[in-house]
């Protein structure tokens, strides 16, 4: 029927309620896949990585496309909010610019019109561009499953490449961010094989908080370990020492030491480790500069 081999056979179901989605996931188990923007699912369907019998479209469920921002309560982003919606939202730009910057670094404009924040996190690629930002912003993920709703810190969500803390029958509803730290400056530095459009070889999110009375820094790393993670030892160095070029260099070395990339088609492990150091250092310098001269 088709001129080229298309997608394998499956039944598409647009879930009308969260409970219907959960029921389908429980009923079909491994044979069900959730559809949000499809930007990871479709390549997976084509290369055989996914062969579902049922594809459950959950992006139209209530709240899935909502962005709610309140400087007291924080930010809640529905799991099916697209990267372009996130990057263009005035409250996200004003109060969580790191998140907007990370969302805007994903692939291309067309892909960002479909790719979702929840999909990026649930796909659990080590190089998910939004993950380092989500980690340094201390976000929590809101999940819905057979036992109802639960929330967990994003830092506990990633278990390995493609593996998350989602239990059978569970899906992600939203990502919640605490009130934005102020005053703050942040940067997501992404290294790819070309300036734009590629997956990250290294992704470094640096968040600096504070003013003349004290500073602290958070560092999130992507693409350089089985899961995106916070560089805890580097953050401790930054907490224990006044900001200076020496402190930053030591912290960057700690970040490099904490990373464990693998050599692949995008680059060697050695190169990625060195780039963790360089980008961490660059990010710290830039954030520090902006904190001092807001």
């Amino acid at each position: 029927m088709f001129a080229r081999p298309g997608l394998p056979s499956f039944d598409y179901v647009r879930a009308g309620t969260y409970d219907e989605a959960v029921r389908l996931l429980e009923q079909w188990g491994e044979k069900a896949r959730l559809l949000m923007g499809g930007t990871d699912l479709f390549p997976g369907l084509r290369d055989g990585a996914a062969c579902p019998k049922v594809v459950v479209d959950v992006k139209h469920l209530p709240g899935m496309r909502d962005i709610r921002c309140d400087t007291q309560a924080g930010l809640a982003v529905g799991a099916a909010v697209t990267m372009n919606e996130l990057a263009a939202h005035p409250d996200v730009q004003a109060h969580y610019p790191l998140l907007a910057e990370a969302a805007n670094s994903v692939a291309s404009y067309q892909v960002r019109n479909r790719a979702t924040l929840g999909g990026n996190l649930c796909n659990a690629s080590p190089c998910a561009d939004t993950a380092p930002a989500v980690l340094v912003l201390d976000a929590e993920v809101v999940l819905y499953g057979p036992k109802g709703e639960r929330a967990m810190p994003a830092s506990r969500f990633f278990l390995g490449p493609g593996r998350t803390a989602l239990q059978p029958g569970e899906l992600m509803m939203a990502v919640r961010f605490p009130p934005p730290p102020v005053p703050a400056a942040a940067r997501y530095l992404k290294l790819g094989r070309c300036k734009a459009g590629d997956l990250a070889l290294v992704g470094v999110a640096v968040l600096g908080i504070g003013n003349g009375t004290g500073y602290h820094f958070r560092i999130g790393l992507g693409s350089v370990a089985p899961v995106p993670f916070r560089a805890a030892e580097a953050e401790q160095v930054l907490a224990a020492n006044p900001p200076s070029e020496e402190t930053f260099a030591l912290a960057a070395d700690k970040a490099m030491a904490a990373s464990s990339p693998i050599t692949d088609v995008r680059g060697t492990a050695e190169y990625q480790k060195m780039m963790v150091r360089n980008l961490t250092l660059r990010g710290l310098r830039e954030v520090w500069e902006r904190l001092r001269n807001p």
């Binding site: 499809g38 479709f42 390549p43 372009n84 892909v111 019109n113």
Partner: protein
């Protein structure tokens, strides 16, 4: 496999179609509606040859199901020209020789059309950013960027 009765507007014309679950929007456009301007390239969201507008925003039609387009407005390259007159953007591509083999051109035009709609006066960097998802293996992009700049300078898409 399930089929779905959908209603979709393509280039202004309402269509009622029965589509199987696994039919992509690209397959629907090319094989059901015989609008073959939109191209099938990488099937992975890298090349942008399949770019169309859905509700005014560019997407890769190879990575969207036809059933997901139910109730929505789709614009393909065939919808850019009015009657037998090319759009100013298309004219600019012709003027600048921004076409070599032509395979990427429909996607380039759709991405550029969407750019000029959201940003009527883009600078060169903004044009390049908007085309990150559209690969051309012939032109080196220079003439494509010049054509888009010209269309913008002359005030229309």
């Amino acid at each position: 496999m399930a089929t779905h009765a959908i209603t979709v507007t393509v280039n202004g014309a309402g269509e009622r179609l029965d589509v199987p679950s696994n039919m992509t929007l690209l397959q629907m456009i090319r094989e059901r509606l015989a609008l073959t301007g939109t191209k099938n390239g990488c099937e992975a969201g890298e090349c942008g040859a399949c770019t169309v507008l859905v509700d005014g925003e560019p997407v890769n039609s190879c990575m969207m199901l036809a059933v997901e387009a139910d109730g929505r407005q789709v614009l393909t390259v065939e919808g850019l020209a009015a009657e037998d007159r090319l759009s100013p953007l298309q004219e600019a591509f012709v003027e600048h020789n921004a076409v070599q083999c032509g395979f990427c051109t429909p996607g380039m035009l759709i991405s550029a059309h969407a750019l000029l709609k959201r940003n009527p006066h883009p600078d060169e960097g903004e044009i390049k950013q908007a085309l990150v998802g559209n690969l051309c293996r012939c032109t080196g992009y220079v003439r494509i960027i010049d054509a888009i700049q010209t269309a913008a300078d002359e005030g229309g898409m």
